[in-house]
């Protein structure tokens, strides 16, 4: 019940975000030849429908390094980041920190959203795919920065809570072309899962901070 509510809330936030982000004065077009080859080369499979090859503004911007680095691109970057930041919803009950043990499970799992998953698959955050998170888990990726001692270094002041929450919800609110998935935007994680990951990073009892 609670999870369903959270999913709805997140879907609402995502919809708000889309509304805020889509009408832009710097509408950038996808190369028609690229669009055509993409459209004729894919088919839907399971939950992976063809709408996934329709790029949103962030994806269009970040697929084109040349445009992104132009003055126009930089303007668009700022505009998209601001809209994304404004669309992030704080936790519905005002509590940022969940259970770090549940957060570790979310961090470990890379499941979800592939064509071999279903709508019933419990998504993971896939954190370890790219980040070092705890000392105990040596099988971690290196695409993202190490998160060891994340909370120990930063503490749990309100600005840190808000920043970390925002980063998990939509990393692209701070860095439009960050490699990190927008966890709330596509409903990849539930609100509770994100709170649990917050606790993993910030709870003094979490192995991240030991």
């Amino acid at each position: 019940m609670n999870i369903t509510f959270n999913k709805l809330a997140l879907a609402g936030a995502a919809a708000l975000f889309m509304l805020a982000a889509s009408p832009t004065s710097y509408a950038q077009k996808v190369d028609p030849a690229v669009q055509a080859i993409m459209e004729r080369s894919f088919r839907e499979q399971g939950i992976a429908k063809l709408d996934r090859i329709q790029q949103d503004d962030f994806q269009i911007l970040c697929s084109d390094a040349k445009f992104r680095d132009s003055p126009e691109g930089r303007k668009k970057t700022e505009q998209l980041q601001a809209a994304a930041l404004a669309a992030i919803k704080p936790p519905s009950d005002g509590k940022y920190l969940g259970d770090w043990k549940a957060g570790e499970v979310v961090a470990q799992s890379g499941r979800g959203a592939t064509w071999s998953d279903t709508l019933k698959t419990v998504n993971g955050g896939g954190c370890y795919n790219c980040h070092q998170v705890t000392k105990q888990e040596i099988s971690h990726g290196t695409i993202g920065p190490s998160l060891l001692n994340y909370g120990k270094i930063r503490g749990t002041s309100e600005p840190i809570l808000v920043y970390t929450w925002n980063r998990i919800n939509n990393s692209k609110a701070y860095n439009a072309c960050s490699n990190m998935p927008r966890m709330a935007h596509f409903n990849l994680l539930t609100e509770q899962q994100m709170k649990d990951v917050m606790a993993l990073l910030l709870d003094p009892a979490s192995p991240v901070n030991k």
Binding site: V34, R52, Q59, A113, S116, S139, F186
Partner: protein
């Protein structure tokens, strides 16, 4: 004295920081590759493929010995080193697998659509995969030679580059998200930087490969298919232009690099 100190330092390092030495799965895999150097299980597929190449099959009960992979009918040695390339008869740029589909259709009468519709490791697709193992073994130790000089090859190269950087799906992933920087890993898996000659040679030059974890031979089409699955994208159609364009891009970057196919992967 100095030498002893050095030895002591090394043993201290070994004892206190085993993690450093276990950091990359590639060391263990290199050892495993060395052990299997004379016995890559892909050889079983290769032997089957060699047989299938000369065995009459399909509605026309013909073999593939007249198949032109770009170096003339029936020439297999070095053929995959120069693929993908433009073919006049189909007026398309084709990779090895889409070209073999053409040959199986025209020579043997097996409809391409049947192979496209099928699954990896099953039915006629499985036969085609065995032929791939046979063909790519005949380019082992040769140099990648995909200069992309024909206008249609140039077009596919340019498209392949754009598709490599194209983000999509619910996680915003592009090929470049994981394969455009040196020395990165997902979990323990090293990721080749496919935008460099060295990385592209590692990646393009060692697929198709036998995959130890699944105990199967994976063609390049299958490798790309699973990349797109993990990118959370929809399903790339077998032999589709996106897969060929990406192959042209990777092969072009790998030009001059030494081919090690079939490879051996975790």
């Amino acid at each position: 004295m100095k030498r002893y100190a050095f030895a002591a330092l090394i043993s201290a390092l070994v004892c206190t920081t085993p993690i450093v030495f276990a950091q990359s799965a590639s060391d263990q895999l290199a050892e495993y590759r060395r052990m299997l150097a004379d016995g890559n299980p892909a050889e079983l597929y290769e032997a089957e493929g060699e047989e299938l190449w000369s065995k009459p099959a399909g509605p026309k009960m013909a073999n593939l010995e007249k198949c032109d992979l770009g170096l003339g009918p029936g020439v297999v040695a070095g053929a995959s080193a120069q693929l993908p390339r433009y073919f006049k008869d189909t007026d398309r740029v084709q990779d090895l697998e889409s070209r073999l589909m053409t040959c199986m259709e025209t020579l043997q009468g097996i409809p391409q659509a049947d192979i496209v519709k099928g699954s990896f490791g099953r039915g006629v697709r499985k036969d085609l995969e065995a032929v791939v193992a046979y063909v790519v073994t005949q380019s082992k130790d040769m140099k990648v030679n995909v200069p992309a000089t024909h206008p249609k090859e140039k077009e596919m190269l340019a498209l392949g580059e754009k598709i490599f950087y194209l983000q999509g799906g619910p996680m915003d992933f592009a090929c470049a998200s994981c394969h455009a920087v040196d020395g990165q890993r997902i979990r323990m898996q090293d990721l080749p930087n496919l935008t460099t000659a060295k990385g592209a040679t590692e990646g393009w030059g060692s697929w198709p490969a036998y995959r130890v974890s699944s105990g199967t031979f994976w063609t390049m089409q299958r490798r790309l298919n699973d990349c797109y699955r993990q990118q959370r994208m929809p399903f790339p159609i077998y032999g589709s232009d996106v897969t060929v364009a990406l192959s042209v891009f990777m092969a072009n970057k790998a030009n001059g690099g030494t081919i090690q196919t079939p490879g051996l992967k975790r």
